[in-house]
Symmetry: C2
Subunit: 138 residues, 2 copies
C-alpha cells in the first residue's frame, strides 16, 4: 500500500468483481459505456514487476472482461492499455470503441472528433454487462 | 492476410525478432527512443479472437520486450497498449516513458507537454537494446 496512491483502495470505485490479486471496476464514463478497469490490489508499478503467474492471471481477467464487453455490447473495437503515468499502480483500461464515438479513430486520450456521439448501447445491454461482470469466471 | 492492411506484411518495418506467431519491430520514433511494437503475423482484430495459448504467448513476448526496454533504458514508466482503431490487426505498443518526455504524464496520443525533451538515453543504450531484442528469449 502507498498512502498517497488513489488506486491503493477502492474508495469511490464501483467494484463489480474481485479476487485476491485484482478487482474489476466500472468506470462510468458517459462517453464510453462499458469502459472497465482491472486494478491490481497491491501497489506495483509495472507488469514486469509481477511474478509471471500473477501477470498471467491478471491478463486472464483482462481478457475475460474484454470477452464480456464484446459479447454484450458488440463494439467496433476494443482498446486495452496499461499506462500509469499519473498513477504508477498497475491498472488496465478495457475500452469498447465505436466508429462514431467521441475520439474514434484516435485514442480516448486524443483530441475529440465527434461532439455528439450516438452509440448503439441500451440500458438493458449495460445492465446485462454489469451482471455478467459480477459473475466473472476468468 | 488482408490485402489492404499495412500490418499484414513487414514492408517498411525494422524487424528485430520474429517467430511463427509474431514479430518485434523498432518504431524509430525520435520522441520515444526504445519504442517497439509486437505485431501478430496474421490478420486478427482482437486479443479475444485468438486461442488462449496464442494470446498467452503474445503477452509473453510483450513482457519480454518490456523487460529488455526497462533493463537497458531505465525509463520512469512503461506504457503498454493494444488499440488498433486505425489498423484492426493485433499489435502491442511498448513505450518507454520519461517524466520530461514530449507528452508526460499524458499518453503519447495526448497533447504535447514539452517541445524539447532531453531524455537520458545514449546511442550505446539504444544499440544494446536492439542487440538484446534481436536475441529475445521469451
Amino acid at each position: 500500500m502507498d498512502g498517497g496512491c488513489v488506486l491503493c483502495n477502492d474508495h469511490d470505485q464501483q467494484v463489480l468483481w474481485r479476487d485476491e490479486l485484482c478487482r474489476v471496476i466500472w468506470v462510468n464514463d458517459p462517453d464510453y459505456p462499458g469502459f472497465c478497469r482491472v486494478i491490481l490490489n497491491r501497489h506495483v508499478a509495472e507488469m514486469t514487476d509481477l511474478p509471471a503467474q500473477e501477470r498471467d492471471w491478471l491478463m486472464e481477467v483482462v481478457f475475460a472482461v474484454e470477452h464480456e464487453v464484446r459479447d454484450t455490447l458488440n463494439p467496433d473495437k476494443i482498446n486495452l492499455a496499461s499506462l500509469g503515468n499519473m498513477v504508477p499502480h498497475v491498472h488496465w483500461h478495457v475500452i469498447p470503441r465505436w466508429r462514431n464515438d467521441r475520439h474514434f479513430p484516435g485514442s480516448i486520450w486524443s483530441a475529440p472528433q465527434n461532439d455528439n456521439p450516438q452509440l448503439p448501447v441500451t440500458a438493458d445491454m449495460i445492465e446485462r454487462l454489469k451482471q455478467r461482470l459480477q459473475q466473472l469466471a476468468p
